[in-house]
Amino acid sequence: MKTEIKLIKNGKRLDGRKNDELRPIKIEAGVLHRAEGSCYLEWGGNKVLAAVYGPREAVPRHTQNPLRAIVNARYNMAAFSVDDRKRPGPDRRSREISKVISEALENIIITEKFPRASIDVSIEILDAEAGTRCAGLTAAAEALVDAGIPLKDIPVACAAGKIEGEIVLDLGKEEDNFGDADLPIAIAPRTGEILLLQMDGHLTQKEFDKALDLAIKGCKTIAELQKKAILEKYQKNMEG
């Protein structure tokens, strides 16, 4: 049943991209009425919605930190977002992703300002097609900005990987399934510090250097889109 798939043909990837090219990304801030901040993000075939509530009193009480706010990101896949229907509710994969995204966001939120509070971030994957954790984190960061939460920086995520022996940016669906390595990262773009880093697969040290470099470049491109979307929201608000 293992299909041999040629992921690069004539120097081009299956969807026609160059090795260092991102899939199309669309970011819109402030799309929900109830949430204090929100973001809708399309990234290739991924459709993601993120919403922020808080800072508000953390419940149950024993979770409160007297010195700072806690950050709860909840990554959730809609039942209809994947080929075979996913049972509603968190599974082990989504709970791990929730954890690493929470940790990455906590790094850049000025949590000391809100002792005993929680900042709750909902990330809903509505349509999934490779790279949902990067898409989710990027949308969540934008929703935090939209909510006016004080941040040290706007985190942004992107993956690089290896297919057919070549290092490429932002793996697509088939590339994710049949590629040799996937390296999703998140950075704080101002300092270049790495907030999230995972790797599965097989990379030489040289390939790792190249992939990390490429993923950082991808992050920086997307960071510009994040800023643009916030600007558009402000303009729209002022016009509206």
Partner: protein, 279 residues
């Protein structure tokens, strides 16, 4: 009830006494309804419905499964609703609570009891393989009247859904050896085809507070409501489902007025729905 809520309540009731609503609607008037379909690529059918600020996505997934022993010739449908924390500061993650169970069950009955899906046409091999239809309702933004928004989203998603025979062809072909009749089924169904549906009843929800009954309550109105009544009506002018909620009561008179108003609004909503699904 907080003091802010108390003031808001007084304001809504005062307005209502002079025949008005906060957003200038008439008592029997819906907020603006918007329906977008085919928005989720991975789903067999999908729709996003907004009524005012309330926003719901419904997605249809289909799979092969076994029929219930007492209905060996019928496909199986399941409805689930998630009041995810995204939609409201008051929703918590966790197993479905009474609210989301009631929501899912009312939407489910609206579809099941009205026999909207022709489940008999979803049988592949009697007693062995039938189509399973999963309706999953995702509440994204909660500003009142989830019942109608969720029900409308489910209908729009069903009406644009395709049975994914192409995606599942490899699995069906694998089963051919064991069940030779599948060959014929595959020949008769070479391509994805629309779900077999009949004309759906449309659900309209009213709320009552302080003796006043209004249609399509906003969240502020829901929060002061004493009683709720959801009525589904069909094109023939018949009643197809009812569900009363909350601890208040209705008189027989009030119920008859709500029925009338549900027919009027149902007709308008049906038009919006049909237009959105290109029917």
């Amino acid at each position: 009830m907080s003091i802010t809520a108390e003031i808001k309540k007084d304001y809504i009731i005062k307005l209502a006494k002079s025949g008005k609503r906060v957003d200038n609607r008439k008592f029997d008037e819906f907020r603006k309804i918007k329906i977008e379909t085919d928005i989720i690529k991975k789903a067999e059918g999908s729709a996003k419905v907004t009524i005012g600020n309330t926003q719901v996505i419904a997605g249809i997934k289909m799979d092969l499964g076994e029929p219930y022993p007492d209905e060996p010739d019928s496909g199986v449908m399941t409805t689930a609703a998630e009041l995810i924390p995204m939609a409201s500061p008051d929703f918590e993650s966790g197993p479905p609570d009474q609210e989301s169970i009631e929501l899912a069950r009312v939407v489910d009955r609206g579809i099941r009891e009205s026999k909207i899906i022709d489940v008999d046409k979803l049988c592949i091999i009697p007693s062995e393989k039938v189509w399973m239809v999963f309706i999953d309702i995702h509440i994204l933004d909660y500003d009142g009247n989830l019942f109608d928004t969720a029900s409308l989203a489910s209908l729009a998603a069903l009406m644009t859904a395709k049975v994914p025979i192409e995606r599942l062809k490899p699995i069906l072909e694998n089963l051919q050896e064991k069940h030779p009749s599948i060959e014929k089924y595959l020949k008769e169904h070479p391509k994805d085809f629309p779900l077999p549906l009949s004309e759906p009843p449309i659900s309209c929800t009213s709320a009552k507070f302080n003796g006043i009954v209004i249609m399509d309550p906003s969240l502020d109105e829901e929060q002061i409501a004493e009683a709720r009544l959801t009525i589904a009506t069909d094109t023939k002018g018949d009643i197809r489902a009812m569900q009363k909620g909350l601890n208040g009561s209705f008189t027989v008179d009030e119920i008859n007025k709500v029925i009338k108003s549900s027919f009027d609004n149902g007709k308008k909503i049906r038009e919006i729905l049909y237009k959105s699904v290109g029917k």
